[in-house]
């Protein structure tokens, strides 16, 4: 299967799976470790991937949240993510996809403008998080956030669903690139 669908498998009891997609292995690994250190009542499973489609030979559980990690220092990561987006089913974008942009702190190394990423997130109607994954404290904070989002997307929090969370996270201002 070349397209990821959100609901084609039954969920495992008390388990939530997150898929981190990005080109920089070290950053993904660090983020995964930060997430696993967080104390969470549900069982967390973190999958890392460099690009989609995932190989269909591996038996993997239902993926509850996909995080696309874009490094603002390299245009290759943006292109990679854009290519991967076509392998994700459209029903995933109802709150189960999140974009994470890293490296915004060092302005002189950034080769991608922030507005590009903002526009991308706006086109796909998904939340966008900015974080510097190199710094330990920021990484821990964003890991906590992602764990909470993952719990909601996996259905472990009664009363909130992924779509609900999406409308709560919706930005009220339109992206500035619209004026250009």
């Amino acid at each position: 299967m070349s397209v990821l669908r959100p609901m084609d498998k039954l969920p495992d009891l008390n388990a939530a799976t997150i898929l981190l997609v990005g080109t920089e292995d070290s950053l993904l690994q660090k983020l995964a470790e930060s997430m696993l250190q967080d104390h969470c009542a549900s069982e967390l499973r973190v999958h890392l991937a460099n690009s989609l489609p995932l190989p269909s030979t591996v038996n993997r559980p239902r993926i509850d949240l996909i995080v696309f990690v874009i490094n603002l220092h390299s245009k290759y990561s943006l292109r990679n993510v854009e290519e991967c987006l076509s392998h994700v089913d459209s029903s995933f974008f109802l709150g189960k996809v999140c974009f994470l942009a890293t490296g915004a702190g060092q302005e002189n190394h950034c080769s991608i403008h922030q507005n590009t990423v903002i526009k991308l997130a706006h086109t796909y109607r998904s939340p966008l998080l900015f974080c510097d994954l190199e710094v330990e404290s920021f990484r821990a904070i964003v890991a906590q956030r992602l764990v909470r989002m993952l719990q909601i997307c996996a259905g472990h929090v009664p009363g909130i669903s992924a779509v609900n969370l999406l409308s709560l996270l919706r930005r009220s201002d339109s992206p500035p690139s619209k004026e250009l």
């Binding site: 969920p11 009891l13 008390n14 999958h47 489609p53 190989p55 109607r125 259905g155 929090v157 409308s167």
Partner: protein, 240 residues
């Protein structure tokens, strides 16, 4: 396309599940009950999500190819719809809770009777305050009405004064126009011409008399009467 690598990382076990046997067994039973309750809530939520997906997929999506702008507009409309539904739901829940509260309160009041003095005091206080609120609202609406009337009168007065000033202005301008007209009218012109003619004639007569007196070679400076006449004849009539 190269084979992408994928590595599952070991998940963290839920903490507090495994306890030593010396610990009271009741604690583990409690934990298990808690776990079961949590799992129950989870499965309920997940079931709800699947049901809603099924309901959503039964709706037919329009197959026509729309332009990107139209799609954006449609998406925003749908998002606004979601927000509307959510806020409606919140308001209904609030109203429902309120009704439940009042129902429980009335039941409580009936049950407790004379013992519930605190509650009755509170209720009476609430009633008093609400009466006060209603009265002050009435007063404020009356005052607003008066204010509105005064403002209307002021506006009327302003309008009448404006119209009066306008009248005055038109009258003045009419007068000025009449004056200008009069100055340009024919009567004045003929009168002015006549005046000029008379002045010329008189000047000529003056010069004739002057010539007479000077030509008679009398010393007019000695005689006071003659001197006066000559000086009078020197007067330039155009400056009068």
């Amino acid at each position: 396309m190269e084979q992408p690598g994928e590595k599952p990382v070991a998940g963290a076990e839920e903490c507090g599940e495994v306890r030593g046997e010396s610990q009271a067994a009741e604690e583990s039973i409690e934990d298990r009950i808690r776990l079961l309750l949590r799992l129950r809530a989870q499965t309920k939520q997940q079931l709800l999500e699947y049901k809603s997906m099924i309901d959503a997929s039964e709706e037919k999506t329009p197959e026509q190819i729309m332009q990107e702008k139209q799609i954006e507009v449609k998406i925003e409309d749908l998002e606004n719809e979601i927000e509307d539904v959510k806020s409606n739901f919140e308001m209904k829940t609030l109203a429902l809770n309120r009704m439940r509260l009042s129902a429980a309160l009335t039941k409580n009041m009936e049950k407790m009777g004379a013992e519930s003095s605190v509650l009755t005091d509170d209720m009476k206080h609430i009633l008093k305050l609400q009466n006060l609120i209603m009265k002050s609202q009435e007063e404020s609406s009356e005052l607003e009405q008066k204010l509105l009337d005064v403002r209307k009168k002021r506006l009327q007065l302003k309008q009448t004064s404006r119209s009066k000033l306008l009248e005055i202005q038109t009258e003045k301008s009419k007068q000025k126009k009449d004056l200008d007209n009069m100055e340009n009218s024919e009567v004045i012109k003929t009168m002015q011409k006549k005046l000029q003619m008379e002045i010329k004639i008189t000047t000529v007569i003056q010069h004739v008399f002057q010539g007479l007196i000077l030509g008679s070679k009398t010393n007019w400076a000695e005689d006071s009467a003659l001197r006066e006449i000559v000086l009078q004849l020197e007067k330039d009539l155009t400056t009068i």
